[in-house]
């Protein structure tokens, strides 16, 4: 199966995949992403509410996946390139998530502690069907806001 998910599962996860919707506990404020059915602090009764995350994060750990090690779903992406970086990023709201990093414009290597921001990208193609989700990038166009997702979340 690899990275491929079924169409029904993909559709159920659209709020997470396309809008970074997590969950927050109305009792203690704990944020979870992906959203969990119960509060991580085990608050009772459960009072989880949806929350759109800002998309701003910090690199917590990072590694490089070479073309030889890349899953087949990403073969198209690594063809003709040296591979891609995968990172665990800590979202500003608290949760950790695993993500690909978008190559930086200046070709520099990502480092732990770098600030990153969510962007919607094509993740892979499943029999020609495009699957979209978030990757994280380390810089934005000069003069732009910290994160397009953050701008949208504030509206």
């Amino acid at each position: 199966m690899g990275a491929n998910v079924s169409v029904p599962m993909y559709r159920r996860l659209i709020p997470q995949r396309l809008r970074l919707e997590g969950a927050t506990c109305a009792n203690c404020g704990e944020v979870s992403f992906p959203p969990t059915p119960r509060c991580r602090n085990r608050c009772v009764p459960a009072a989880l509410e949806p929350i759109t995350l800002s998309g701003a994060a910090t690199i917590h750990a990072v590694t490089f996946v070479s073309p030889a090690a890349a899953p087949p779903e990403f073969a198209y992406q690594v063809e003709g390139s040296a591979g891609y970086h995968v990172a665990i990023v800590e979202l500003d709201e608290g949760p950790l998530m695993t993500t690909q990093l978008v190559p930086s414009l200046d070709g520099s290597e990502p480092r732990i502690g770098d600030r990153v921001f969510a962007e919607t990208r094509l993740l892979y193609k499943d029999d020609g069907i495009r699957r979209y989700g978030f990757k994280f990038a380390r810089e934005l166009a000069p003069g732009s806001a910290p994160s397009p997702v953050a701008e949208q979340a504030e509206k």
Binding site: I14, L18, R19, T52, Y76, Q77, E79, G80, S81, V102, P103, L105, E119, T120, R121, L122, L123, R130, Y132, K135, E139, L140, A141, P142, G143, S144, A145, P148, V149, E151, Q152, K155
Partner: protein
Amino acid sequence: MPATGVWQTSFLNDRDEDALTLGLAAARRIASAESKSLALASQSLPYTRRVQAGLLVDALGLAHPFVSEHTTSARAGTEAIGVHAWRVAATGEPALVVAGEAGPRSLAQLDFASAGAVALQLATTGTIAQLETIVSASTEAPGLEYQTDGDDVTDIQVAPYGQAIYRDLLAEALRQVTDRTGLAVADFARIVIGGRELKTAERFLTSQGGNKFQWRAADARLGLANLASVGPLAGLVAALDSASEGDRILVTAYGPGSALDAIVFRAGEGVGGDRVMHALSATRELQSNELFTYLENH
């Protein structure tokens, strides 16, 4: 329009981008949940046949807006504005117009384009520019930039024929603009020439009293002809970047086959800001090996 958004107007940064992701990145900068209609314009959508605006609807969290997709030519962006401007005026409900292009599509010169996206919000309040009039001229012109399934873009490449068609439509559109607004070519602070017939347009506009300072600034830095449906809207954003309140801006867009749109905007408060130039400074060009790999896989 309350705001504009331009993300990148150059070759693709990565192979995980397409017209939809670029359009979404631009739209996120200005989208609000109040948008009741959405127009998606592109000549390079990922699928040949499928509704694709749904990705933007879900990603932006819009509540079941009226959706239209415009794909047939470089005038797709102005066509989208034309369709939704009437709806906005009639209902008072904001509309979001998103144009995105995914960059080079084939090695045939006719089909080589840059990548980029522009998002505009049309509204009746809180705008930075007023849309004063929209006109259009069209005619059947066989042999100009056509493409059938599975083939590259083709053209009969009789230059005087294509130029004559373009000139006739531009003349008709300008006549309509003058009829409706009383404005002549020389009255516009900026003119955006959308489409590939740049030299033909320049010659004609000059003969009508225009000068190159009206249209050269934006095009020289953006290469609007290679941005397909994004070009006219990117040109509009660039014009608004440098406009003063009260300036008239003429945006033209041409689709071979043929049809030509002309839209007159009047700049209001809040113009300026160098949005387009900021976006341009953050792009990089594809290297040759990346380009060939990209074209092989698309």
